[in-house]
């Protein structure tokens, strides 16, 4: 009798724990309330249009970087690849979008090639300078060209300081969460699973 009671208590505890996990806080930084975003449209390398508002019930993940970035950007997109792989069939409802903050060097073709080298489904876009500035402002993202950080004799070579977070936008076009660089790809994975 006592054993049955103990087992029941354990099961109830487990159920409560599971419910708590389900309804608990996100692992990323949540926007509370979610922040409505203006909708931007990019022309992709293949000529198709990309709207930054996901389809209803889908999600989009954004990162703002540049293709000459050797460390933070490839690390982030490599993390996305892990996330996408672990989402399995649910990944069809998530679009991963790399937005360049360096449209002068990163044409739509260059941005797309860069994103594709991590995963063929990843989207890379480059807008004109006005669109780039506006979308950065909407997401609260900053970027600045570092003068002379690389060989100053070669003027075409420069580094760019930029915000290093990934962002999740929901099917209503609202910014719902943010993931700092180094916060772990599994945090993004867990939250996407919960949101899908």
């Amino acid at each position: 009798m006592r054993r049955i009671r103990r087992r029941t208590t354990a099961l109830v505890s487990l159920a409560l724990l599971a419910m708590g996990c389900e309804g608990g806080p996100l692992r990323g930084v949540a926007y509370d309330p979610p922040k409505p975003l203006p909708v931007f449209e990019f022309t992709r390398a293949n000529g198709a249009a990309l709207s930054t508002k996901p389809a209803k019930d889908d999600l989009m993940v954004f990162f703002f970087g540049y293709t000459h970035c050797p460390d933070v950007c490839p690390t982030t997109l490599s993390d996305w690849k892990r996330v996408k792989a672990r989402l399995g069939s649910d990944s069809a409802r998530v679009q991963f979008v790399f937005v360049t903050v360096d449209p002068e060097r990163d044409t739509p073709e260059v941005a797309q090639q860069y994103a594709s080298q991590f995963d063929p489904s990843f989207i890379g876009v480059s807008g004109d300078s006005a669109t780039t500035a506006q979308i950065q402002q909407a997401f609260g993202v900053a970027s600045i060209r570092d003068a002379g950080a690389v060989d100053s004799a070669a003027s075409a070579e420069y580094l760019v300081s930029h915000s290093s977070q990934s962002f999740v936008v929901d099917g209503e076009g609202r910014l719902v969460s943010m993931y700092s660089f180094g916060s772990g790809w599994d945090a993004l994975l867990d939250d996407l699973r919960r949101m899908l």
Binding site: T67, H68, D71, P74, S78, D79, Q113, Q117, V150, S163
Partner: protein
Amino acid sequence: MTSQPSLKTSGILGALVLVLALAACAEREPPDPPQPVQVRDAWSRPAAIGTTGVAYITLENTDTADVHLTRVISTVATRAELHETMDSQGMSHMEPRPDVLVAHGATIAMRPGGLHIMLVELTRALAVGDTVPLSLRFADGRAVRALAIVRAN
């Protein structure tokens, strides 16, 4: 009465001969001196030709003196530079490093989001499984070679 050497004595003699033989071999072919700066866990990421690549290494200095890594050369890039990613309030930027000090007895591990080797203008594409030759030059004139394996993560 002639005494025969016991089995035990023969064993000791045999072992002695073996030790002497090994010592003689060792004298003829001295082992390489231990490399005071060891390179471990060298790896790189896939990248397209003409773009910027990266390499990460772990340096272990078992010497009694400090060493300064001052330069990296790689045949897969126009040039290689030492950089450190710094993060300040969510903004990431890279600081060029003129050298990397590895104090005696210390280990420096390069890693994503930290110290790294930037491979500027790759002369060939890097795919998973490729190797990236690195020649590490130190302030005291010594050079250490390493091969970084290209992997996804």
